[in-house]
Amino acid sequence: MKEQDLKVDFKEQQIILYAEKEDGSVSPVQTGSYISKNFIGDFYDYTAKINYEMTEKLKSGEISPICFFMTIEELTVAELASRAGLSKLKVRKHLNLKGFRKASVSDLVKYADSFNIPVANFFQLIKTREDKKWDPGYRNDLEKTESVMISQTNTNNPLIVETKIFHNTK
């Protein structure tokens, strides 16, 4: 692989690849990510489809919020159980709404930490608007639209998060 063959113009994600340079040395080359540049649209489409399907199932009561976040964060039951410090049996029970209602607050805190979301996000869907299309958004994923920004800030109470929705005046 020659250096000139692998350079990709994509500032948003840079990686180091090794390639043969003109002087014959095989050394590191910094380049944009080929996959991100050419497939990011596919990734967003696929992710949006999953998010949409799971959101509809969540709203209809087919699944619990635990199942929702587990799916979109691509965790298995075993992996989530290990991360949250709960048994696999318990996690499976919490995947449907009936079982989720019996989850304790301390269970929810453990799940929330594993998913990196505030506990409050198990009980609400925060949507942003972009090009007349509503998309679900969640903590640590600031949706930068032309007019609206969302931020969620922890408070000293681990069960309370401050969600701010404001117009971007910049």
Binding site: I15, I16, L17, S36, E74, L75, E79, S82
Partner: protein, 324 residues
Amino acid sequence: MAAHCESGAVTAQLNFHGLKITEPLVFGISSGLFFAYMKPPMMDFPMFVTRSMPGQIFGKFSKRTGVKFIRKTYKDPKEAENDLNALLDKNIPVSVQTDLFFMDYFPAWFRVHVNMHYVNIIGREGNKYFVSDSYYPEIAEIERDALMKARFAGGTMAPKGLMFYPVNVPEKIDMGNLIIKGIKATTFDMLKIPLPFLGVKGIRRFADKIVEWPRYAKDNEQLADKVLRIFILLEEQGTGGGGFRFVYASFLQESAKVLNNPRLNELSKEMLGIGDKWRELALAASKVSRSGEITREKLIGLGTLIREKADLEEVFFTRLRKEI
């Protein structure tokens, strides 16, 4: 930036402490090149890896070179934090193992739950830490809470607060001897381990088993996503390209100079060619992923390309073994 997080972190540490060494040499000496194909119980889908187990680059480098690292894991996050802060306050950079998902200086689409991401923490200010991350082009900043979550995430290969840093780093090491040890270990790993999912045998297993992937996927879209990940795992998830084969070619090129063995230079070029073939497979996988329905025939086609790599690497590593 570096090609790979673990070898990048170790290389940066060694250079900081006065040992001039490149990432390919660290990678090759620690016999980082490998292949394995498996379906772990915790995963819903089969996976393959192109390097040794996480932690082994640092571990084997230390063992083979005699460079001593202080290595510690923790049960108590507070103790881990205090130890980290104490070292940083003495201007000692520290390598830590993290879950990439919590490294929020990356965009959300980049962050996945992977517990084997190594970074160097190089300083702190108030509640903020400064991070030298092989996959990020500048010094990044991360808040205390996020770093603690990253260091103590549960799950497969949980970090458990692991941190390490070198002590007593010599200015020079017996590079020639270490290169030979590293090459011998890699050729053994690729050719001689008697398990059907490791080394060259593992590549052949991957070739045979890819046609079974549809039974693990819930629909064609998920299958297409998994096929696309072949590209990501080979080319862009911190491998330097070609599933680490290009980094290894660079290692062999440097080895040729150190050992004054021009044959290793020729083998380096051969490894470059093999890396190109892996890249062709990656590109083919990306095209298949976008080609509509992922049929059995398309998967058989990918299997054929994969099997070709097994044949090439069997010949290559046999030659390399004889050369040392």
